[in-house]
């Protein structure tokens, strides 16, 4: 197996971008760092800057105001990159999709690799999904 791919699977850095979320999914992402779920045993760490990130976690229904910034963030991330849409709002927009301030769902703004539905999704679901996304690289 490619050595760099092995490194990416074993030591991904996670960057959290909250695109106008209600912060419920953000709290569940914070839970991942706590002792109960502890993503550091999988090697995942929180990246300080987008330039040092491998996985971009997008929460929230990306409204018109943040859509451009999300595209900028995606462009600033160095390849190889994985985008995870966390929560049903990021996956499809659910009840907000006809709102005047929501233009398009997240996967029309930036390419999404893995969808994690839930309102909010459980941390176990998030961990399982991220491992699946990394193993499919």
């Amino acid at each position: 197996m490619n050595l760099f791919k092995w490194g990416l699977r074993k030591a991904p850095a996670v960057f959290h971008a909250g695109a106008s979320a209600c912060n419920n999914c953000d709290i569940e992402i914070l839970d991942l760092l706590t002792p109960r779920f502890d993503i550091e045993r999988f090697g995942m760490t929180l990246a300080g800057s987008i330039r040092q990130a491998d996985i971009l976690l997008v929460t929230g229904v990306a409204n018109r105001k943040i859509a451009k910034k999300l595209q900028q963030l995606y462009a600033q991330m160095p390849a190889p990159k994985v985008v995870a849409a966390i929560g049903s709002c990021a996956c499809s927009g659910i009840i907000f999709r006809d709102s005047y301030n929501v233009g398009t769902p997240v996967d029309k703004i930036i390419p999404v690799n893995i969808y994690i539905p839930g309102c909010p999704p459980k941390p176990e679901a998030m961990i399982a999904a991220l491992i699946k996304a990394l193993n499919s690289l």
Partner: protein, 147 residues
């Protein structure tokens, strides 16, 4: 509570209509030209705290509600004014309550009510490329999905 309602009645007399919904909730109906007087009275003279403002699109007229809180007595006074739809303008209260600046910007960009004398009536929450003159929270705005 009695004290506040009576103070308003004494000060404004015929210009207001006071409804006391319950022990802790007073609604004051006033004409839009007198809004600065009553806000000044409540904020400066009686020492209320400006909580927030709401803008409503009623059939036939716009309405703005100013919610003033009396924390010590534990009650809310809501001042309601009507604005007609053909000429939606009202005095801004930012000269009395500086903290009302942002809520007036929000009411302006979502309902289209112009606040005279506002220092900075720019867009606050809508995206920069949202078209001018389109007010999303008016009842005639079609709430359908758009790209």
């Amino acid at each position: 509570m009695q004290r506040v309602a009576e103070a308003i009645k004494v000060e404004f007399g015929e210009q207001v209509e006071i409804i006391e919904k319950s022990a802790k909730r007073i609604f004051v109906y006033i004409d839009k030209k007198k809004i600065k007087n009553i806000i000044h009275f409540l904020f400066v003279d009686l020492g209320a705290r400006f909580s927030t403002a709401s803008g409503i699109d009623d059939p036939g007229y716009f309405e703005i509600l100013y919610h003033m809180a009396f924390d010590k007595e534990g009650m809310f006074v809501t001042v309601k004014t009507q604005i007609n739809k053909s000429d939606p303008e009202i005095d801004s209260i930012t000269s009395i309550v500086p903290g009302a600046e942002w809520i007036e910007r929000e009411i302006h960009e979502l309902l289209g009510i112009k606040f005279k004398g506002h220092p900075n009536l720019k867009r606050l929450l809508l995206a920069d490329d949202w078209p001018e003159g389109v007010y999303p929270l008016r009842k005639e705005f079609p709430q359908v999905r758009r790209e």
